[in-house]
Symmetry: D2
């Protein structure tokens, strides 16, 4: 029996971090991850950092969920090979260079290393201590969308795990754009809606229950950070894509309604065939037939991205509906899927 | 002191009917409405038809909320002048000809009389007993959107109260289209989201709490009945407009996110000015400044339609966000607003 | 025409304060209240303090909702007679002595002046600058539950507006206890459930949407601050009452399920009669007949406290279900009801 | 490698049936279950019976989720040994005698075989074709609460799976009552709250989203069917227990707040020790320490029953808070736990 992979999670108290910890804890090829916290994190000290701190260990196996202070020597001492960063992007941008230099492989769940083009990165306002190293790592980082980059993830040292919105939009559009059937110049619109866990665990006026319940709102019009990822991965210019996020009064799940114009008339069967060929053999994408549409409930608590669509009678307008769980296929599940590819395991391992 | 207007509501047990009954019950210029039920309606007999059947009368004034069986003679006997129909469209289509012939004025909340063009009406499958009368009434019926048709509503015998989705979309687009600034041929998209009361009070698999809660879904892609109203009122061709409804896990409220391309570059101030001029003096439309957007919570439980917008940096793409309460500005509130116009009262009467 | 009453609200940005501002803004006998903020309040400066800061004034009348910094001279300058405090209890405890000394009448929505007995007050940890004045005011303060203290409220200078939970429990039990039919020594239990607005507007881990949605929890077992009010108003000893609050995943509303043992067998009709006699002529309490029970939806957005009940077959066990809106009958609505009594107006004025 | 157990599920389209199908589909010791429908069931024919009928089979393994019409010969033909009934109680009452006669083992999720005493059974109104067989089977049936009846379940032919509410109440009280520390005659109260899936999948006025959302209500006061189970399992008389169910606006989960009086003063540590001893080695009950309480979120989507408690300062009043997922520990999960015991497998098999 081969030894199990040693992993660590920094930022285990956030929503993505908790989900990732849960997934790694039951993954057949990894040991329970080393859980780390930055010195600034106080969530763990007041007892609210982990969801069930006081439940005794009769079967729940949660007794070992104590967070250790982060240090490179702690990683070394525990023999960690793969580090997951579920940290704010500025922290990821700061830590990754040393981690890579020390020979670790890293899956970063933040936006720190997803963007190649400086104009897209500007919105994050990164301050790199060593600009050359940062530029070099930016170049080497692989955008961790397994359905698109399965050839480059296995050998990657640094995987930039995609944004949740971006995953839902890119997976919906990639088959259509790569087939050249979309009239890009008429414009593509993604009207996307996300549950509240996508906004993070920090309590704010915007995430207060009374602000969200019975409500629905649009935000970041023409200016959401995930737009850059979508543009880069799909090779679109900024005026070809309009991406609008909205806040849904549900804990988790994303649904994107995506509007494209086709270059020439197509039938529903032709569109379906385009999706099916592109995702043949892809474990975590489900293509719905023309007669039905995905809903958020179908993919929540799974690692699937569900895709459905409808062609207008004129054969020229196409709507794609894309659903996923923002904490799984949109974050922690995809991170595990990336790990599976990085270590040559089956893409479904630990995700069923 | 002048006598108060005698009104009646047929279909008072549905969501719109209940809301209308509540509004009329406190309107300063009408008596409490005569409440009627069709013989087929059993909701009232099992005690679930009205929301508070057993609450004693100490101040609540609900003791008189008994429904009478519908008959023309009952209307006559009570001296009813204005009849509100909160009935299924087939019933409205059937009853209106006799009601008008008997000299009643009617505000119909269904889709029965909203559409002038036969291709748009086809989706309803109306079966008219007397085709000529039906055609004539179809012609005479006034589409009851006060912000657009304030000149024709005062003298109308038959007012076709608009659909909830249609109201949110038409009010958002009318100022832009009437100013000729929209590039119609690049296509207009309305991605609309509604609370569950819009789906009616009938319990179905689709309105079951467990189906709706924590969920979100699109439906009726390229085929919702309200599309025809929007096309007719805005003089658009069917390929110029894509309208997609979605079901929100909230009881009430609609938010439409509407995407248009402008013919030439515009600033936010120019767009704002376009909205403000169009709605100057209009009591029930609120135009938000460029720095803020409406949310469903702001307009729910009011008769307002709230409009906000954002212009892309390229000055050519415009997003309008339109919010209203589907049971008020989208149904019963608008019906009262129409009544106010029909009788020459202030448009805000009974709606504050 | 008589001049309207000049009022002021300190703490207008909290949930109760907003509701109170809305009620006073449309009350026929008061001018729009002067809105005040403490210097420490920053909510208003970042534009999130008021719910619709940017909506232009076309009919909404919200243009004047600017908050002024609090000062006694501002109150004097505006001729304010009645001051509403929707402030944290420590602030209320601090401000009231000077306000009363300056001849103002005050309705305080906090817990600062509700409790006569020191052992009940201890939980608040008040630090009074002048202990004698505080003791004197504590004595003079009238507990503002109009259904119990209608005789003393009209002449009160300082009205301590009851807690939301306390209102729901006291109104359910007062008729039974005053009739001497309850076996107090077998113990009374109130299992109470409240919507999230009861926890205040401060964003915390506990009020984050993801913590509340799909969840339900008990808190403050054997130790909630409202227990003291209930004990004092009903003249119960602490071992006779068990009060347990719970957090409901809804924005507003309280339901208390209250268990009492009767001294001797009673029929449902006798219990109903007991409630009806006690609340005869009371505008804001609705007693349900034995065949039906109140639900939160019935009383939300109204000032009613709804009471229903069920007697066990043994005739000795009685359950009372009590519902109200925690922001109206449980806070702002009751404050207005108290104002109506203080100025000799009809108890329903401004609350329909 | 030993052959896997052949099972069948009748009623696979209800909430419990779906959950059970999902659990059996991934249980390491059973084949995918044979899914059956009664002839009267039409849910499957209209395509809404199963949650994802149209999702293609790329990895989801749902292609085989077709329901077969129920017949004894179909069971025989497939070699089914263990039959799960997720059917209405009248159907279970009718089918079980023949099933047992044919040598099947049965786990029945309905209330048909849970009650030994006729006065408790009366509420169901069973009409037995063969009264003697029914009486005999009633006697033989084992109440399938593994934490109480682990000795009798392994050899049972007929396991009556407990009600969801009953499980939450019995597990909370059994340790206290068996230790003789409860003053039964002062009365025990269970104020229980359940998510909507507990009310079943049938769309009704009561389960309509608009009726449930933002609402909360009590029902079946002094008359819920689960009361009998609790009385029998805990050997209580009907006047010793008051059980009140409520409907929570969440899809799943139960929280019971249970009030008992102790015979003599106890400390929190003594109470904790009582629970811990009783549940030592019990895989699916988690006892919380005195400093923390379970919440619905902790146990939803797990098979745990979580128990927490608080002792009053007087040492004589005790509140127990009990949480579980009504579809797992309250139904399908417990059914699988019973199967594990019936076949001598580990109690946690297939439930992690």
């Amino acid at each position: 029996m081969t030894a199990k992979l040693k992993t660590a999670v920094l930022g285990a108290t956030g929503y993505s971090g908790l989900e990732l910890t849960r997934l790694l804890g039951r993954h057949p090829r990894t040991d329970a991850p080393l859980l780390l916290r930055r010195s600034a994190e106080t969530a763990d000290s007041n007892g609210h950092g982990l969801d069930l701190p006081h439940v005794p260990g009769n079967g729940s196996g949660r007794g070992d969920r104590t967070l250790q202070p982060f240090s490179w020597s702690a990683l070394e001492q525990h023999g960690v090979e793969l580090l997951f960063l579920a940290t704010p992007h500025a922290i990821s941008r700061e830590l990754v260079p040393e981690g890579i230099a020390r020979g670790l492989r890293i899956v970063d769940l933040s936006g720190a290393w997803r963007l190649k083009q400086e104009q897209n990165r500007a919105i994050y306002g990164f301050k790199d201590a060593n600009a050359r190293t940062a530029a070099e790592l930016t170049e080497r980082a692989v955008y961790g969308l397994p359905e698109l980059n399965a050839d480059r993830i296995p050998s990657a040292a640094l995987v930039a795990n995609p944004g949740c919105y971006a995953t839902s939009v890119i997976l919906a559009l990639a088959p259509l754009l790569s087939n050249g059937i979309v009239d890009r110049d008429r414009g593509i619109i993604s009207d996307s809606k996300s549950g509240v866990s996508g906004a993070g665990k920090e309590p704010t006026a915007r995430t207060h229950f009374v602000s969200v319940a019975d409500n629905f709102s649009a935000y970041s019009l023409f200016g959401h950070r995930h737009t850059g990822e979508i543009l880069e991965q799909l090779a679109l210019s900024s005026c070809q894509l309009t991406f609008t996020p909205h806040l849904l009064p549900i804990p988790r799940g994303i649904l994107s309604t995506i509007y494209v114009y086709l270059k020439s008339e197509m039938t529903a069967e032709e569109v379906q065939s385009c999706f099916q060929k592109f995702y043949a053999g892809k474990r975590w994408v489900r293509v719905f037939p023309p007669s039905s549409l995905p809903e958020i409930q179908f993919s929540v608590h799974t690692n699937y991205c569900d895709l459905g669509f409808c062609v207008a009678r004129d054969g020229l307008r196409l709507i794609v509906v894309s659903c996923l769980d923002n904490l799984l296929k949109g974050a922690a599940g995809q991170a595990v899927q990336n790990m599976n590819l990085m270590y040559g395991w089956d893409e479904g391992e630990g995700l069923q």
